[in-house]
Symmetry: C2
Subunit: 297 residues, 2 copies
């Protein structure tokens, strides 16, 4: 298939390279020359502007930062929708509010295109390995058209409903849990350090106890290594918990734990850690209590 | 060995029965006739008062509700410490504040006894199967003397230090994570329900995604089944997060996520769910937002 990929960040680049490996003709789109060159080196083509994408794409995968960017690359002044052939499928994998996904489905349907609400989970490791989880919803025809693309990038594709919205709802719930689990991992590890526990031992014990989580096992090692290189950044959870709280507010739904965790990610960003690895939300407690984090000289 | 077990609740009964199975001579102690009879039927002996325990015990396992009960059964008017032989080991597996564990070690050492700070994790399933995790600290002589008992009740014994306190510190951190993970599982599931997701599908998707936790996988099925029979009760986390917050306050350590989760367990207790299964902290959102919980008629 001829596939376009807009947004060659961590997730988009992993998806694009796996699509190349599976034999698809891939054209990436990103403002940054370095990532365009990286995709070209991996066997794909790459363009700077969405309106420079090929005019004969079968599928377009969109993995940008937020709903505003989605609107821009699809319907903006340089947007690619006017170039897409009728019946092509637009796979929207950006994390957005369910209402934004429903609105996009209306717009794309009106333009004669298929739309899949298809947020993904799995992080850099899942993207690189082509083993992401897709939380998908949309018309059966959209799933059918998108199938070869999803097969190349995901180990598991959930079909959660016949219209956009429910895929993004499930992703939102996942991000609520993921964000809170990272923030509470930091709170708990920081308290343990303050109370005199050895961080590595504490990590090992909790990994085999009822207090464990996917995020505890995945993120605490970043803190133990003192490595704040962003695999996923603090600012991603400033954004994603923001989406959760906006959506909860729209539903008049109180989410006090998510709201507290959001404040802590905002605190970490305020301390200058917005672009650092999300586990370094623990710097809030470092700043407040003076604890010594592991791996710091 | 001759082993006493004070407190034949969920965890204590499981431990006592496993000690019987491994060939130890076990005497349980509990105020409730029904659990005394259950232990007798399983091959143990049982007494009502701590000062009626045999005078020749090698080891005493204490699994009561809190530090005050620990003091009462050991040093109160009917306490058993005066009857224990010099050099016997007291295995304190109640969840208590680290400072309480350190104080108990001083008292028991002064009485010529060995003390192990040995809180446990694993729930009813682990207690019944003899596969609990012990987060232990204490003198090497206490570990040596307690070894046959720990072997009978636990799959994993952590040796976290040579004095009481660090075992309870690690347990406290585990309870912080466990309590928050239950409360946020409820918050996230409730939001998903409010936003239109199918609860069972949401559970299945999150189980294989980055938002998963040990507690999500273990507790959400109780909510899906509509079964509020307490495996572990709301009031346990009212107590245990209370210990976490008391200890954090004593250290001048802010723990905003734990504090928020504690308020939610208090809310569930205020609604009359204190003795119900801890997953039914979700009734706070049921009461606030009117969502329909699964399995309710």
């Amino acid at each position: 298939m001829k596939v376009g990929v807009i947004g060659l960040g961590t997730m988009g680049m992993g998806a694009a390279v796996n699509l190349v490996k599976k034999g698809h003709r891939v054209t990436g789109c990103d403002l940054r020359p370095a990532v365009r060159e990286a995709l070209a080196a991996a066997g794909g083509a790459a363009v700077e502007r969405p309106d420079a994408l090929p005019a004969d794409l079968d599928a377009l995968l969109v993995l940008v930062v937020n709903a505003a960017q989605e609107q821009e690359v699809l319907f903006g002044a340089e947007g690619c929708v006017p170039r897409l052939p009728q019946g092509a499928v637009v796979i929207c994998s950006t994390t957005v509010a369910p209402e934004a996904a429903r609105g996009l489905e209306r717009q794309l349907t009106a333009a004669g295109l298929l739309m899949l609400d298809a947020p993904v989970s799995g992080g850099r490791a899942g993207a690189d390995a082509g083993t992401m989880t897709v939380m998908g919803s949309g018309a059966p025809a959209a799933f059918d058209r998108a199938a070869p693309v999803l097969e190349a990038i995901a180990a598991k594709v959930w079909r959660l409903g016949d219209a956009a919205g429910i895929g993004s709802t499930v992703k939102m719930v996942n991000q609520l849990l993921a964000g809170v689990h990272i923030a509470v991992a930091a709170e708990a590890l920081a308290l343990g350090i303050r109370a005199g526990a050895d961080p590595q031992t504490l990590y090992d014990v909790i990994c085999t106890s009822a207090g464990s989580s996917w995020m505890w096992q995945n993120r605490v090692p970043h803190i133990l290594a003192g490595d704040d290189t962003p695999l996923s950044a603090v600012n991603i959870f400033v954004k994603d918990l923001g989406i959760v709280l906006d959506q909860a507010r729209a539903l008049a739904f109180p989410a006090p734990i998510a709201a507290t965790a959001h404040q802590l990610f905002l605190g970490a960003a305020a301390l200058g850690n917005g672009a650092k690895d999300d586990a370094f939300v623990i710097r809030v407690w470092e700043a407040l209590t003076g604890i010594a984090l592991p791996g710091q000289t």
